[in-house]
């Protein structure tokens, strides 16, 4: 653990004790940690290991917090926070990656390309990220659902918990958001 771990733990405890602002203060620390974790995970991926974002975040959370068992609600909110960070990290990573690889950026990537994490998903991630910004203007909650699910890797139930809506609502939001995003992305591709 890095030098900020003590501070993170403190903030987590304060948050758990009811201090809402503590969660916001956690953001930069969490970003740093996730970034490290993401890089680590990607190198593992190359060695044939895989890691889900939830697992990533859980790992982080458990590492940062010495409070076990973790309360479900706190966990969900922490995950929501992480999802936002994951979105930033992944799109940043992908943009870097794309600039390194001229001619990249299309969603369909040739099959002989390197591992998926480094190619298809981040490329998709950029497109989704852009479209998601547009969706947020139309329907904030749906963009939130996509962020939590796609970038945060949250399940429908977890997403529902974070957004304080029913899982059915999440499932419906998800369905429409996907269609909307696909259309939006297609429009962009055609330059409209």
């Amino acid at each position: 653990m890095g030098e900020s771990d003590g501070e993170i733990t403190q903030l987590l405890q304060a948050w758990r004790g009811g201090d809402e602002q503590a969660l916001e203060k956690l953001t930069p620390q969490v970003y740093r940690e996730l970034h490290k974790a993401a890089r680590r995970a990607m190198s593992r991926e190359r060695e044939g290991h895989t890691l889900q974002p939830t697992a990533l975040i859980s790992e982080l959370y458990l590492r940062l917090s010495d409070l076990r068992p973790v309360e479900w609600q706190n966990r969900a909110h922490f995950f929501a926070l992480c999802a936002r960070q994951m979105r930033r990290i992944l799109t940043d990573l992908a943009r870097t990656h794309r600039s390194e690889k001229r001619g990249g950026g299309a969603i369909a990537v040739p099959l002989d390309e390197a591992p998926e994490v480094a190619s298809r998903s981040p490329a998709e991630a950029i497109a989704v990220d852009d479209a998601l910004k547009a969706l947020a203007l139309v329907d904030e909650r749906k963009s939130k659902v996509v962020e939590l699910r796609f970038f945060g890797g949250l399940s429908v139930e977890e997403t529902a918990e974070v957004l304080k809506v029913s899982p059915e609502t999440v499932a419906r939001d998800w369905r429409l958001a996907k269609a909307w995003l696909l259309r939006e992305m297609k429009g962009e591709a055609h330059g409209s």
Binding site: Q52, M86, P115, E116, D139, A179
Partner: protein, 1031 residues
């Protein structure tokens, strides 16, 4: 886009997608001319269609989550192309129009790849069938046909087949690409949570229902063919084609299919077993959709237990188990497994397809109903039916009389109730100490402790053993929480006490939990620690006392509740709702109003046995015995879909109403009351419908008392008891009984009948008038009270007034559409006219009766009236018909037919034959047949006819005995014409014996009774002339 518009788009989008097949019409309707709106929604729908796996995998996730049994992604290398058996087209990895992305699985049907359909730009799963398959052209033809049929299935929970085609001679299927895992992987040898089982099970049932309704049978339902997506959506794979892919030798086991990697890939040998085949499939017989239901039952079992239902070391043993065996421990799968769900599984796994759920939609309804009832209760039926069945038919419509007190009407999840008479079931202690000394002893100790309590009554060990036998368990079966709960429910107990003991170091921890056995909710728990082994019993005593306290406290706060779960009757919540509503209406309004509700319940679930039974009961209450018999017969046909208790009810009703075999009905009721001593219905049957007909009034009174005791708030019990007292001429007791009902604020229109009859027997004219006046305001009883008035008038020879009253009575019944009731009332007139000697009137009324209905009581009345009128031919015809239609009916065999035939024999001047014919009636000669319930005729007619035969044989002494018998039982006869005429006949009999004084007295008795009689009544004229000759 403005928010309002967007919301509109969203709502139409969702509506269309939820509409299933009626999409187009929904779209048309919702957009209603707004083309821009429509095009907006349509463009989103189009995207939705092609969304496929879009962003379903979280951004950061490795692609490994993309498919069942997925392996690391691969490019279409030479090896892959080789596996598929086709040449990759050029360098871009295209096969046909598909770009192969990676291999995601393999199985018995061949390799599966994730691919992109370049034309439609969507991700798909491609399954290539092994080359060997393609060689069999017949098979390929069939496969294509099946797959094409399956591809027509468009359902949220069925994996969509897009296309079946071949490339370079290799057959492939293009289908929906899914993410998640198979149910097999989801279960992974561990039980799933009950809520998950419901959540997933309902979806599988919906998928099966959709396919079955299109005539497509899966034939290979099993966890490996059921896919659970990342969104916990079920997708059933390979409809219709999975089994086809298993040709002999290629895939003899049933465990390998298209989309799964399986044992074989790991071990190289076939390990699977035919664990999900239905018995008919095992036997190689034709398998219809009910085979899928069986297989799904096995899947549900596996979800519930984590174990295969028919897991055996070899395929042969598995098959044997499927044909003959039961999956282990269906009834004791642990406290978490709701009984209702186990029953659903049992029903799916019935060996005989006809005994399974008959449709996946029924099954889905059952699962939904279970889920909605809190996952614990199967279906909850009020335990004490507050039926008014009186003497089967006598009840009429109930004016809205206040019955608010004590009406049960609830569904589920009511709070627990321990009442004063509630019993408690003790389960076996769970002994976690490993020390066998605690086995059995703790339960015994607890029993001793608890029996000191004045209000806790324990379900006896005798009873427990009896119930265990009924459950198909050995009498000494371990009373695990699940078993104990079932015993408790079956015994109508309120709560189960489960205990456990554990050792912590040198200390012992004892816990007791009281569980409401209907809902499974824990209602109280206590614990105590013992410092060492020697103090365990002390601790037990302490915790038991504490439990007594807790239960005692809750006693005062909770309300009455004793709905045993055992009463599971329909898997349809909707049907149950209608049924329960029917119940409520029957108890608060009247039987006639409840009819449509029970009919509705049956419409929803045609096999709802109790709904048929109750419908029958309601028909019976309204005097429609033919319809009652029909419904009761249906109930009997479906009697296996009822609890033990309900089955008693149904079987007893069947014999009482359909076959009429009262001996058998009586035996059923006796067993019933032994099993469920507190069930008011058993007593009510015996006291109201069986013993009176057999003439066993003491027993009827006894049972009547028990029924009142069993349910002091059931108004019909008082009525039956009052009538039985009356039959024993205990008028005071009859009145007291009605008074008790009054004191409990119970009201029932039938009480008016009883009150009228008591007043009649007391010659209380004012009382009779008072009741008649009261009846004017009570719709359901106006007709019968009018009939009573008619009989009372005729009893003293006021025939003209009686006729008018009878007419009114019959009209009222007809106006309310109760034809059979009208027929019985008409038959009363016919019989009376016959007795009084108006042949034309008797014949006319008898003919009218037959026209109204073919109910047995009315028909008997008509036959008897024809015979009285000398019309032997019609009388015989009707008697023959009765005998033919009711060959087992106690009344028909021992009362109705002998009486009619004896009368015919008399008409034919063969009195000896008449006596002979009536011999069968002797054991029951004091019985009150059901013709007396609504029509008020038929009382002691066999005795009367026997007396006439004696007269014809010039056996005066014998004739005196018979007629005296009638006069000695006024409480049975009440105002039946024979009561009046027996006086005259007694006079004739005495005259025959030469005892003129007694003869005169008897004639005078009659003539006094008829002192104001209409002068032109034939029998009156004869009586006067005979009397004149006596002098």
């Amino acid at each position: 886009m403005d928010p309002e518009r967007w919301r509109k788009v969203e709502s139409i989008f969702n509506e269309v997608l939820d509409a299933g097949e009626s999409r187009e019409s929904v779209l048309k309707e919702s957009c209603a001319g707004d083309d821009a709106l429509r095009s907006e929604v349509e463009s989103l729908l189009a995207e939705h269609e092609r969304a496929g796996a879009f962003i379903e995998t979280p951004a950061f996730a490795a692609a490994s989550a993309t498919g069942p049994g997925a392996s690391a992604p691969q490019a279409l290398d030479a090896e892959t192309a080789n596996q598929i058996g086709v040449a990759a087209n050029g360098t871009n990895g295209l096969i046909g129009r598909y770009r192969i992305l990676r291999k995601i699985g393999s199985g018995g049907m061949g390799a599966v790849f994730e691919a992109e359909d370049t034309r439609l730009r969507r991700r798909v799963a491609l399954k290539f069938l092994p080359e060997e398959f393609a060689e069999d052209t017949q098979w390929v033809k069939r496969f294509r046909a099946e797959a094409r049929a399956a591809s027509a299935l468009n359902h949220a929970h069925i994996c969509t087949i897009y296309e079946i085609d071949e490339i370079e001679g290799r057959l492939f299927i293009s289908m929906e690409l899914l993410e998640g895992q198979t149910l097999k992987e989801t279960i992974a040898g561990k039980p799933l949570e009950v809520n998950t089982i419901f959540e997933l099970g309902v979806q599988v049932a919906a998928a099966l229902d959709a396919a079955h309704s299109k005539g497509i049978v899966h034939r290979d339902i099993k966890p490996a063919n059921i896919f659970v997506t990342a969104q916990r959506q079920i997708k059933v794979l390979d409809f219709g084609i999975a089994k086809l892919a298993k040709r002999d030798g290629l895939d003899a086991d049933s465990d390998l299919t298209v989309s799964t990697l399986d044992h074989r890939t790991k071990t190289g040998i076939v390990l699977g077993s035919p664990g999900y085949m239905s018995p008919e499939q095992v036997r190689g017989e034709a398998a219809d959709h009910r085979s899928d239901i069986f297989a799904f039952g096995a899947v549900l079992y596996e979800m519930l237990t984590g174990r295969r239902a028919f897991e055996k070391p070899t395929a042969v043993e598995s098959m044997a188990a499927i044909l003959n065996g039961e999956p282990p421990g269906l009834s004791q799968t642990g406290p978490g497994a709701p009984l209702g769900l186990l029953r659903v599984v049992q029903r799916c796994l019935e060996k005989d397809p006809a005994r399974r759920f008959q449709s996946a939609s029924d099954l889905g309804l059952a699962l939904r109903a279970l889920r909605e009832s809190g996952a614990s209760a199967a279906v909850v039926v009020p335990q004490r039916p507050r039926l008014r069945w009186l003497r089967w038919t006598a009840a009429g419509a109930l004016a809205a009389v206040g019955l608010a007190a004590g009406i049960f009407w609830f569904f589920s999840r009511r709070p627990t109730i321990l009442g004063e008479k509630d019993t408690v079931m003790l389960g076996d202690f769970e002994n976690r100490t490993g020390d066998s000394v605690f086995d059995g002893t703790l339960r015994q100790g607890l029993a001793v402790q608890l029996e000191q309590s004045p209000f806790l009554s324990l379900i006896s060990d005798d009873r427990i053993q009896q119930v265990l036998r009924m459950m198909g368990q050995p009498a000494d079966a371990r009373l695990t929480p699940a078993v104990a709960r079932e015993v408790c429910e079956r015994s109508a107990g309120a709560a189960v006490l489960d205990g456990s003991i554990a050792q912590i170091g040198s200390q012992y921890l004892l816990t007791l939990t009281a569980v409401n056995c209907a809902s499974g909710e824990s209602v109280a728990s206590t614990e105590a620690q013992a410092s060492d082994k020697n103090h365990v019993l002390d601790a037990l005593g302490k915790t038991a006392s504490e439990m007594r306290n807790k239960l005692g406290e809750s006693l005062s706060t909770v309300q009455k509740f004793d709905t045993p779960l055992e009463e599971a009757t329909t898997p349809s919540l909707e049907a149950l709702k209608a049924y329960t509503a029917g119940w409520k209406v029957a108890t608060t309004v009247d039987s006639a109003s409840a009819l449509p509700l029970y009919q509705r319940a049956i419409e929803i679930d045609p096999q709802f046995a109790m709904a048929h039974a109750m419908l029958g009961r309601m028909y019976g209450d309204t005097g429609e015995s033919a319809l009652a018999a029909q419904s009761t017969k249906r109930a009997y046909e479906f009697r296996n879909r009822a609890s033990d208790r309900e089955r008693f009810f149904i079987v007893a009703s069947y014999d009482a109403v359909v076959t009429g075999d009262l001996q058998r009905a009586g035996q059923t009721c006796e067993a019933w009351e032994q099993t469920y001593p507190r069930d008011v219905n058993a007593h009510a049957f015996l006291s109201g419908m069986i013993y009176p007909v057999l003439g066993e009034y003491e027993k009827a009174v006894e049972e009547g008392k028990r029924s009142v005791e069993a349910d002091p708030d059931a108004e019909f019990t008082y009525y039956n008891l009052a009538l039985s007292y009356m039959s024993l001429d205990s008028l005071q007791e009859a009145e007291n009984t009605l008074k008790r009902a009054d004191e409990r604020k119970l009201q029932s229109p039938e009480y008016l009948i009883a009150r009228y009859q008591v007043a009649f027997l007391r010659s209380d004219k004012a009382g009779m008038d008072r009741v008649a006046a009261l009846a004017m305001n009570v719709p359901g009883v106006q007709d019968t009270v009018s009939a009573q008035q008619a009989f009372a008038l005729a009893y003293s020879g006021h025939l003209q007034q009686a006729r008018a009253m009878s007419q009114r009575s019959t009209d009222l019944a007809q106006q309310s559409g109760q034809r059979e009731r009208a027929a019985q009332l008409e038959a009363g007139s016919a019989v009376r006219e016959g007795f009084f000697g108006d042949i034309a009137a008797a014949t006319q009324s008898a003919a009218a009766t037959v026209k109204l209905s073919t109910g047995k009581d009315g028909q008997y009345g008509a036959a008897f009236a024809f015979a009285l009128a000398g019309d032997n031919s019609d009388a015989q015809t009707l008697a023959d018909d009765l005998e033919r239609r009711f060959p087992e009916d106690t009344e028909v065999r021992f009362n109705y037919v002998p009486a009619v035939r004896a009368l015919v024999a008399l008409n034919q001047s063969d009195p000896a034959k008449a006596i002979e014919l009536l011999r069968v009636n002797l054991p029951y000669d004091l019985g009150e047949p059901s013709s007396a319930d609504v029509g008020f005729y038929g009382l002691l007619y066999p005795i009367y006819v026997r007396g006439e035969a004696d007269l014809a044989l010039h056996k005066g002494v014998e004739a005196v005995t018979e007629f005296q018998k009638i006069l000695d039982h006024p409480g049975i006869v009440v105002n039946d014409p024979v009561g009046a005429l027996a006086r005259l006949q007694l006079g004739r009999a005495y005259a025959m014996t030469g005892d003129t004084a007694k003869a005169k007295a008897a004639y005078e008795d009659f003539l006094t009774l008829w002192k104001d009689a209409d002068p032109n009544i034939p029998i009156f004229i004869r009586a006067k002339s005979e009397y004149a000759k006596l002098r």
